[in-house]
């Protein structure tokens, strides 16, 4: 399991308006493209000097494809990154703060200590 790779996905998608829309509309296609093209790309490094060892587990891939923020939280994905990206994708479909409150309510089963987010 790689919390780092989950965070890298959330980070690189969240900062790019085109990727945010692709992830909202076609999560399966976007996750497959991202894992093939971006997972081993070292940011700020030429494309040919990429890493060789980063891949999602089946469970991580499924959580991303299903937009499953509860499972991402349980895996220790950084909650700020998940929240920011999911607000960007789904707040538009709801009334003021409605999405944010539902997002928190879906996590009501978690109590302290929360899953470790250290990478």
């Amino acid at each position: 399991m790689s919390k780092y790779l989950l965070d890298k996905f959330l980070y690189t998608v969240d900062r790019d308006p085109e990727l945010v829309e692709r992830y909202r509309e076609d999560p399966e296609g976007l996750v497959a493209w991202w894992e093939a093209e971006m997972a081993n790309k070292i940011l700020n490094v030429l494309a040919e000097e990429r890493s060789t060892w980063l891949a999602f587990t089946e469970e991580e891939r499924r959580a991303l494809v299903e937009h499953d923020h509860v499972t991402l939280f349980s895996m220790g994905a950084h909650p700020f990154l998940t929240l920011t990206l999911f607000i960007a994708m789904f707040e538009r479909d709801h009334g003021p703060l409605e999405y944010q409150k539902a997002y928190g309510a879906a996590l009501a089963g978690f109590s302290h200590p929360y899953p470790d987010i250290s990478t």
Binding site: Y4, D7, K8, Y11, D14, R15, P17, I42, L43, N44, H69, F73, H78, P79, F80, L81, T82, L83, T84, I87, A88, L97, Q100, K101, Y103, G104, A105, L107, A108, G109, F110, H112, P113, Y114, I117, S118, T119
Partner: protein
């Protein structure tokens, strides 16, 4: 030598800009009271007549990333562009362009390294809302040169709380040893109890009002002994999963000095998180 004309610690609430500029049905009911408190707070900086702003904040995974994460970083550039696409998207924040005070950056880096802080640096830094929120609230003209200092309160492993306090003390000493006749305000922003992306987010108050009450007392009274006696990296998980941002308040308590009471203290209970504002005048209250 330079004079520290004000020390200011504040929360940085990215919703303030939108709330304060909204009109008609879009204007939230708490906006007028919030603006009133901010305008009083802004006056505490204006009265100090600063020439330069040292600004402590924390990058929210914008330019600084997990493949190369500094714990403490000083910007050293002639200019800083500010705010990011996802801050425009979520908070409606405007973009900024701020001048940099490179000589003070250079002084802080050299003195800090020699004092035992292995500070990282950046010669091209795009800053985010942890620094532009206090520009919006305290100096919306954005007309003063800055030295940005970023701390890692976000990506564990984090430095210990006492290290933030020590760095704050050192920043104060370094500014006061800068061979310049400039008046420097040291401004830092953090959080009280805060939950982001967890079950306690976006409640009617901050996630832990009791922690907030204690925190405001610690800061207002400069009670570093009480604060350091209770706050640990582990304990900060309890008030809310983003409460490690409180360590930037602890850094500012180090800047202000042990046992030094703030000259201006204010707070505002909002949904999601409590706002809090503090100003110290090391050379006496100019108001």
């Amino acid at each position: 030598m330079a004079e520290v004309c004000a020390v200011i610690a504040s929360t940085h609430h990215p919703f303030y800009y939108r709330a304060s500029t909204a009109v008609g049905d879009d204007r939230p009911p708490f906006a007028d009271a919030w603006v009133e408190k901010i305008e009083r707070f802004r006056e505490t900086l204006t009265a100090a007549r600063p020439d330069v702003l040292v600004m402590v904040g924390s990058d929210h995974f914008h330019q600084l990333w997990l493949d190369n994460m500094p714990q403490f970083l000083v910007g050293k550039a002639p200019a800083y562009d500010a705010n990011w696409y996802n801050e425009e998207r979520e908070f409606g924040l405007p973009r900024f362009h701020l001048a940099g005070e490179e000589q003070l950056s250079e002084h802080i880096l050299r003195q800090g390294l020699d004092a035992g802080f292995d500070l990282a640096f950046s010669n091209e830094l795009r800053i985010d809302h942890s620094i532009t929120c206090p520009i919006i609230t305290l100096r919306p003209e954005a007309d003063l040169p800055i030295v940005p200092i970023y701390t890692n309160i976000f990506a564990p492993p984090l430095p210990q709380p006492k290290r933030f306090v020590q760095l704050g003390r050192e920043i104060r000493a370094m500014v006061e040893s800068w061979p310049s006749d400039q008046r420097v305000a040291i401004i830092g922003t953090g959080h009280l109890s805060l939950e982001l992306g967890g079950p306690r987010q976006f409640g009617p108050q901050g996630p832990d009002p009791e922690f907030d009450r204690k925190a405001v007392d610690w800061i207002a009274n400069g009670d570093l002994t009480g604060c350091l006696g209770e706050v640990t990296l582990d304990s900060l998980h309890l008030p809310g999963n983003a409460t490690h941002g409180f360590m930037d308040f602890m850094l500012m308590m180090g800047v202000a000095g042990d046992g030094v009471k703030a000259d201006h203290v204010d707070s505002l209970d909002l949904f999601h998180t409590m706002e809090a504002y503090f100003t110290w005048y090391p050379g006496g209250d100019p108001r």
